[in-house]
Symmetry: C2
Subunit: 211 residues, 2 copies
């Protein structure tokens, strides 16, 4: 049990939290000296933290000007969701074709057990299960590039979307269908269902964009 103080990681997590909580306004400039003083560290580890946040698209750097909190509009969310659609489709296909597809299906199903035959679903808790479901699918995909990419796309979408985009009543059956396709070992079906699952949400977002 070795604790590395690692100031840059601490700064990274603190700033990430602030951006997500909305404590730092979109478009706001992040003055290095100011933040460093606020966090009680020097600019060097802070700089490392800022670069990590930049590679996650949370902030952006303009040379000789500084770092700015990125503004994410609906279009960006849709873009991220579109990528997630195809990436998680790929992940679902790979899981279904995995030799352990039945075990994997069991694990995925476990996230939703509490909500089956339940007429009064707690939104916040279901949201967590939904997140676990999508994350696990990519983690088990056995594709390292996919894991990193989906984390990004997923993240961009999650971060700036508070609450559920669709109701548990709507998405729960879709989730279970995907899980069953994986259990059957039907890769093409699993991919198709996963993509359909995402497409419905994208359509909803696009209607918002037009409105």
């Amino acid at each position: 049990m070795i604790k590395h103080s690692d100031l840059s990681k601490l700064a990274y997590h603190e700033l990430k939290k602030r951006i997500l909580k909305g404590n730092l306004a979109k478009g706001q400039k992040l003055v290095q000296e100011k933040i460093a003083a606020e966090l009680g560290i020097s600019r060097m580890p802070l700089h490392k933290a800022l670069q990590m946040l930049e590679s996650e698209f949370l902030i952006e750097s303009i040379p000789r000007k500084g770092y700015f909190v990125k503004e994410h509009n609906l279009k960006d969310k849709i873009d991220a969701f579109e990528c997630r659609e195809v990436l998680e489709g790929l992940a679902a296909r790979k899981l279904a074709k995995n030799v352990d597809h039945e075990k994997i299906a069991d694990k995925l199903a476990s996230f939703f057990k509490p909500y089956l035959n339940n007429s009064d679903i707690n939104n916040e808790s279901y949201r967590k299960a939904d997140q676990d479901f999508h994350n696990t699918i990519c983690e088990l995909s056995n594709n390292t590039v996919l894991q990193k990419m989906d984390a990004l796309a997923n993240y961009l979408q999650m971060t700036f979307t508070y609450g559920l985009l669709r109701t548990p009543e709507e998405t729960l059956p879709e989730h279970m269908e995907i899980i069953e396709a994986i259990r059957e070992g039907n890769g093409e079906k699993a991919e198709l269902l996963m993509r359909k699952h995402a497409t419905i949400t994208i359509d909803k977002l696009e209607k918002e964009l037009k409105a």
Copy 2:
């Protein structure tokens, strides 16, 4: 010897070049002080460059140990290619559904004009056209997340694969088919063909993996 304009960017490009050329062996440790002295800069801008390379999966950092040139095996290449398959499929679909799909098809076709009805194709030059084709598809997709992600996946694959994986005679007709689907405005067909195009290459890579 480097002019004082943007030392970190210059260091980034220099190191990237060295890694790609293979001047830096895979797994090799990058001692900061040493490289900084070599490039004639301090550790601060070098550090920035190292972090940029890390976010591109070219090197990896182990806390308190240092940065190491990443080793990319065949499995990693296949992983990257699988992501590219679905991401560029998405891009092709979006292009076909774009109002300007005919113009886009013309632009894409222009890359391959010199090779049509040509029995003696120069491999190196065709490789460049192939790269342009794939890059342009993502650039025109009008999806910022896709653009960045595909650059990564594409990059990982390109970097460590010298030469063509399949012959021009084999891939040229596939490219033209994709372009025609885009010209027709048939998104589903364009996506399907693009994925098929990638899948054939993945199968080839997977056979190598087993051998």
